[in-house]
Symmetry: C2
Subunit: 438 residues, 2 copies
């Protein structure tokens, strides 16, 4: 599809930048764990030493963006308070405390006497990161990149340009004071560059978009580079008929209102017909008190849901206090509905029937499938990964919440003593394929 891309060819300047980041990433990829941890400490120190300068730059961005009419919610994302910034800097140190994702031996096998195969985790190479508004994303992603031995080309929203420049100055300063040296991180500043980035498949190994669904979808449709992430988070909770109604209501509530703008919040509630009346009778006032607007199919409307849901609702990610409701005749219809409309992010079932629960877990192919718990648990920190680069809804690994582990790949090393394939083909030698200690 390269010939039909609607994005421009990268400029020679951008190619030069990418080449130099690629080169630096080659060195970074061979650094020791201690060196990478030291670099993170230096990066955190440099940020700490320049908090005032960063906040000043942020103020410039805020004032300009306010004048330009940036929405309140985006202004809130753009704003760095001293506490928020300190939290981010703490985050850098936390990433340095995570265990090293590099150098894990996944396979160790004697193919024959003198021929030893290893499979060892190695960095991906260079990450291309595109993020909107939040300048804290720059700090987080940069520290994850360095920790995992990857270089990165980073493009932030133009509304945060002064803040990003100040932050990148600190990160670079920290890197250059460390044994890693500067060069592995580079901030892109123009829209032209972020478009050009999508065509740098010779230099960039993974694109990580952090922003609106529209941004992610645009990127997915305009690059040959693998994209980590998800455009939609259309999550479901199915209320089975063998269920404690109060627990089911609290699960629905937590999954919807605990943070409705999150991708792991539910958009659709599926309710077994046998408990629909009781569930809705009890829950409608509770949802109403919590400010949640319910939109229902014909059956649930007859049970008190005021607003109608159209076909479009089943595939809409509201990211808001709106919840679509559908009555189903059994778990199979629920699974069918989920297969049709889910974005394969996270789905949950509320039931006391273990058999039904296991059927649901086996049958629903989303990256997370839950029994009797809130969909909002779908998160790298909550899974115990320490930090996450995002949540992937693709089929192939890494999927679900992706931590440092998702920023590495592996390489096969084969060490021999002049071994030739012809000797195995002729039958003079035979493979023993003996697994050795990992």
């Amino acid at each position: 599809m390269s010939t039909n891309l609607s994005v421009p060819e990268p400029s020679s300047q951008l190619i030069k930048t990418a080449q130099s980041v690629k080169k630096a990433s080659n060195c970074l990829g061979q650094s020791t764990n201690d060196q990478r941890c030291e670099a993170l400490t230096m990066m955190a120190d440099a940020l700490n030493d320049n908090i005032e300068e960063i906040l000043k730059a942020n103020l410039i961005d805020l004032e300009r963006s306010e004048k330009e009419g940036l929405s309140k919610s985006l202004l809130a994302r753009l704003q760095l308070t001293p506490n928020k910034l300190k939290g981010c800097i703490d985050g850098v140190l936390k990433v340095s405390n995570l265990s090293d994702p590099i150098g894990h031996r996944q396979l160790h096998r004697k193919l024959d006497e003198t021929l030893i195969l290893e499979r060892v985790t190695v960095p991906l190479g260079v990450l291309g990161v595109i993020f909107e508004s939040r300048p804290d994303a720059l700090i987080q992603i940069a520290s994850l990149a360095i920790r995992s031995g990857n270089g990165a080309l980073l493009k932030g929203g133009s509304e945060a340009r002064s803040t990003n420049k100040a932050i990148m100055g600190c990160l670079d300063q920290g890197l250059s004071k460390s044994n890693i040296g500067s060069g592995a991180l580079s901030l892109l500043t123009t829209r032209q560059e972020s478009l050009g980035l999508l065509r740098l498949d010779r230099f960039v190994d993974l694109i990580i978009p952090r922003g609106s669904n529209e941004l992610v979808q645009f990127i997915q449709e305009n690059t040959r580079i693998t994209v980590l992430g998800h455009a939609d988070g259309i999550c479901h909770l199915y209320i089975d008929d063998s269920v404690e109604i109060d627990q089911a209501i609290s699960l629905a509530l937590d999954s919807k209102i605990q943070y409705p703008a999150a991708c792991n919040a539910i958009e659709t509630l599926l309710i077994h017909q046998n408990v629909a009346e009781e569930f809705l009778k009890k829950s409608i006032p509770i949802f109403s008190n919590a400010g949640v607007t319910l939109k229902g199919d014909v059956q649930s409307q007859s049970l008190g849901v005021k607003n109608p849901a159209t076909d479009e609702d089943w595939s809409t990610e509201y990211l808001d206090l709106i919840l679509s409701v559908k009555i189903v005749s059994n778990v199979d219809e629920a699974i069918e509905h989920i297969r049709k409309y889910s974005s394969r992010h996270t789905e949950a079932i509320a039931t006391n029937n273990k058999e039904i629960a296991e059927k649901f877990l086996r049958s629903v192919d989303s990256s997370g499938v839950y029994h009797n718990c809130s969909t909002r648990f779908a998160d790298g920190f909550r899974y115990g990964f320490g930090a996450e680069v995002g949540i992937s809804t693709q089929t192939l690994p890494p999927r679900g919440p992706v931590g440092l582990e998702g920023l590495v790949t592996y390489r096969y090393f084969l060490r021999g003593n002049g071994d030739l394939v012809k000797d195995f083909v002729s039958g003079d030698r035979k493979f023993s394929h003996t697994d050795l200690l990992l």
Copy 2:
């Protein structure tokens, strides 16, 4: 890029087929290991019972293709002999003897008292397989698909249409006699369908192309679905100056001539300047005897290589008895050259210097990096995987030779007892993140 695709929208008939394979794959994905193994046995039995019929169909294809002027090498690929067919049927049984890639628990963690997280391997879903000429590929891929719990849409070369139809009839017959039932495999027969397949991203989870570089490249550029494989295999062998010349020559020879049409055969030999004269003096007659044409840079021409190599040669996959030769001043220049021209398939170094060897292994980011052994070892069978779907040169896993393990993904299961995120956010509960036994 979906709007710019040069491939047509899938027909409604193709969508129907894909839907029905998807549905069958949902059931298949929940089958037990024994059921899938039994299905493979039934498939092998059905093939065994119909050997004559398959060979007859193959004869029809051969006669028609000969009339149509198909090249000799393609006719050889198309032809099934009784022995070749029996070998394929044995292969089906071998795949059934491989260990189950499904249901492996990769992570088992208590997030808090009642909240247990698991990560378990599951099938990908539906594979889209496009292969040329060789009807044996149909048998092999179909058995790997069923073994790993995946459905498959399979499109073979039209020259093999009668053979493929006969084989698919047997596979389907075997499946329908087993507990799996038929429906998970479907043969596509028209070019229109194989193009439409590339746009079935709603139903197909992975495309596996088996054929020419042109085929693979066309597919990579015309689908949003993940493609497993490699377009090019430009592999290098670097001869260091601290080396046993005779061993180095035999490594070069095995890597080039053992099977020159293979993707893991070398295309370029890089030779340290200090040993270039000795190496070429000894090896030129040996290469010549083996029918290998050498094409060299200026320096190697001055040392006896007769044909000049142009810049284009460094990025050419000859798939033939041709080898380009370049003299380099040290291992760094060799690594630089490989980084620039390699297709990240497999590269090797011949040296007695362990330090140089480890530097090479650390610095070259191909899926396989070898020390003192032939590049021709890059192969799933030789690695001990039992069977392979292909070799991937992409950065993200699965890369290198891909066995059954590459046809699965994973899913996170979280089981709780009404657990809510708000309790963890409020601080009422705390994550313990205790790893449990796998």
